[in-house]
Subunit: 426 residues, 2 copies
């Protein structure tokens, strides 16, 4: 939709850019002008369907949720405050086994609605019923990168080849990256065949990696080394890739990560709630590794809120390093906007610049938690909340504005459906 945003502070998220007062124009789904008000006056305007007075609020690229399992919304607050193994084996797995594709569709729609309230414009989604998840994103107009999820309970190397072909040609909003669940849930021959697919397609591979201490210890027992080193040895990372969580790593792991240009998606909310540990995010940043931020699934977090995650990324580094100066907030905001986009292969969604896709949000600065305007980016990371998300635009379409959803689906129907789904599984 041709849209003019004027009277806004613009945070492009381009390297070394500070915010400035100006205008952004969107033609269909791409940005066609970025500049000051003065500069805008000297450019021939296009036909706008909507001209939005941003009233001095901040226009910036949307947040990327770089690791999640959207359809797990049905298990939000279903079984909390339990030991991890009981939670997973007695609650999560038995409930998931009962899910249908149609269930996954509605549960994904609910997650998408929550993403919109948090200024999240795309997700890196790993779950069963992949086609239904794609269908939900497509229906709601949400940008989703699907992640391969094969493991010993389902899927093969051919699954990955088929998914790669299918979902990279599904819809403009949908794309796909190779992936498998984790080392501890996938037998060696299957992992070896996945490595071959990666080399054949020349594509990176993503997985849950080193989330818990027990997982790493198990791998050492099985293969004599850590998951990162082991997977590298079997040729998994010849075309790069990345790990979700990466909480428990060794210096050898870090060496592999640097050599193979691997990326890390940190999930501090989930790691906190499930007591998995604190991801050494600043160590990754200092090593030049690209870091993105994910909410993980709503069963383990329980919310899908990039503001909570951003605060935790910096806060937990400060706590674990005993140093209030650790993990600068500006770097964290980059992870949420730019790092995630790079990891997910969304290179056109990372910043505000001419030619980039219009995945944009307006942050309401005219709220008490954003005042005074001492430092806008630090305000966002340390003080921001869903309250501040005034508008979320994806691919040039406004999907959320002033608390209302524009996804073509009635929110009350979604709430009714998801409650029916959980009730039917009990």
């Amino acid at each position: 939709m041709n849209t003019r945003f004027y009277n806004c502070k613009i945070l492009t998220m381009l390297e070394n850019d500070n915010w400035f007062d100006g205008e952004v124009w969107v033609e269909e789904n791409r940005i066609c002008f970025v500049g000051t008000c003065e500069e805008a006056k000297n450019v021939t305007p296009i036909d706008f369907e909507r001209e939005i007075d941003c009233k001095g609020n901040l226009l910036m690229p949307g947040f990327k949720n770089a690791h999640t399992h959207s359809a797990m919304t049905f298990l939000r607050s279903f079984a909390d405050d339990m030991p991890l193994q009981d939670w997973l084996y007695k609650q999560v797995f038995p409930m998931e086994a009962k899910l249908t594709g149609e269930d996954a569709y509605w549960l994904s729609i609910l997650a998408i609605m929550e993403y919109l309230t948090s200024g999240i414009t795309s997700n890196f989604d790993m779950y069963m019923h992949m086609e239904d998840c794609a269908r939900a994103s497509s229906a709601a107009g949400f940008r989703t990168v699907l992640c391969g999820n094969v493991n010993d309970f389902g899927g093969s190397d051919d699954t990955l080849r088929e998914e790669n072909e299918k979902f990279n040609n599904y819809d403009e909003l949908i794309s796909y990256q190779l992936g498998f669940h984790a080392e501890y849930t996938t037998a060696k021959p299957l992992m070896e065949s996945i490595a071959k697919v990666s080399q054949e397609l020349k594509k990176p591979v993503f997985l849950h990696n080193s989330e818990t201490k027990a997982e790493v210890e198990g791998c050492i027992e099985r293969y004599g080394t850590t998951p990162t080193v082991f997977l590298n040895e079997i040729g998994m990372f010849e075309y790069g890739g990345g790990g979700f969580h990466c909480v428990h790593i060794t210096n050898n792991d870090l060496k592999v990560m640097r050599e193979k240009n691997l990326s890390v998606v940190t999930n501090p909310g989930s790691n906190t709630k499930l007591a998995s540990g604190i991801c050494p995010v600043e160590k990754y940043v200092n090593a030049g590794i690209t870091v993105g931020i994910g909410t993980d699934g709503p069963a383990s977090n329980n919310c899908l809120d990039m503001f909570r995650e951003m605060f935790l990324v910096t806060g937990l580094q400060k706590l674990s390093q005993n140093n209030a100066a650790a993990m600068n907030a500006d770097e964290v905001l980059k992870m949420a906007c730019v790092g995630g986009a790079k990891i997910m292969g969304l290179n056109d969604c990372d910043s505000i610049a001419v030619g980039k896709l219009a995945d944009l949000i307006i942050i309401d600065l005219n709220r008490p938690n954003m005042q005074p305007l001492n430092n806008i980016t630090k305000n966002i990371v340390y003080s921001g909340s869903k309250e501040n998300v005034k508008l979320t635009m994806i691919d040039g379409e406004i999907k959320y504005e002033d608390g209302e959803f524009y996804i073509g689906i009635d929110p009350d129907l979604v709430y009714r459906k998801v409650n029916e789904i959980i009730a039917s599984k009990k």
Copy 2:
């Protein structure tokens, strides 16, 4: 204001109560009816000025911010990501020295607005310019318990006597508790004279206690023992009291706390951001100690958000104990509503029951982050955000509803004032 809340889920926060569908009536500033819809039909209604259809949303007691320095809003995001000592001595103290009483008034108003957005209906406020802080709460219609703040830089035992007399007779919304800044900022003779005031007035004493490791080590150097044990030895806790933070404690401290019925206010956001450590909250709960939750001041947090604090209270216990089952969320919600009220002496504000003061909030459950309704209280603690605060009522008056403030002061004026204040100090 006589108000009828109907069609609501009611969470009374009375011991062992689960939520139920019903109605709550408020007559002037107190609750005069609580019951089911059926029960309401059998009671003669009063004259209502407003009847609110809650549309199935949750009515519950407001949150108590049991430790804060409201007027520090001017330093929000002013100097982050710095070592603690540099932050305090090079940034905070020099800026604070320039504050006037009128500044403190406007800065407190900004904080009060943020409290309202987070469902916080009262605060336990410790700051300079106490009268201006009281004036702000009184003007905005916010409930404030002021906390004595004497230390070597200002105030004496007589200050406490005068403040106690003045602010406990100031206004229905204002009350006062004895307090001093901390052991490390207050000379022994002054602390001894404060202990005498406490014994003379038969009132508890509150202070910052054992916030950092360095503070405790300093006390051991000075007095050969920890702050809690030392203060007890000089007679500070003969009428109880409590500590803000209480991160670094010994078993002897815990013994004193139990013996003297001391309470603890935890401030996990601030302790995280300033890398002070993790407060052993569950240890306190298991010892039967009353725990409340505070945001601390906005210079150190940087936001005034009870939802963030509640998540951190449970999350950090899980992380530090390596146990996903640690610190049940239901207990955390109690701290935020009931524990804080008990500590602050607001015994009429802790629950929904006939005769209690109408300090109430409506939590919007018809938002994606609250769905499905598997468990409403866990949803609030793990997934709630300012987005969910639909209405905040204090002393029977609606002060915030659907994002709008009803405090008799124009928000834009407040934003302009606080930006002018910080600009004038640079």
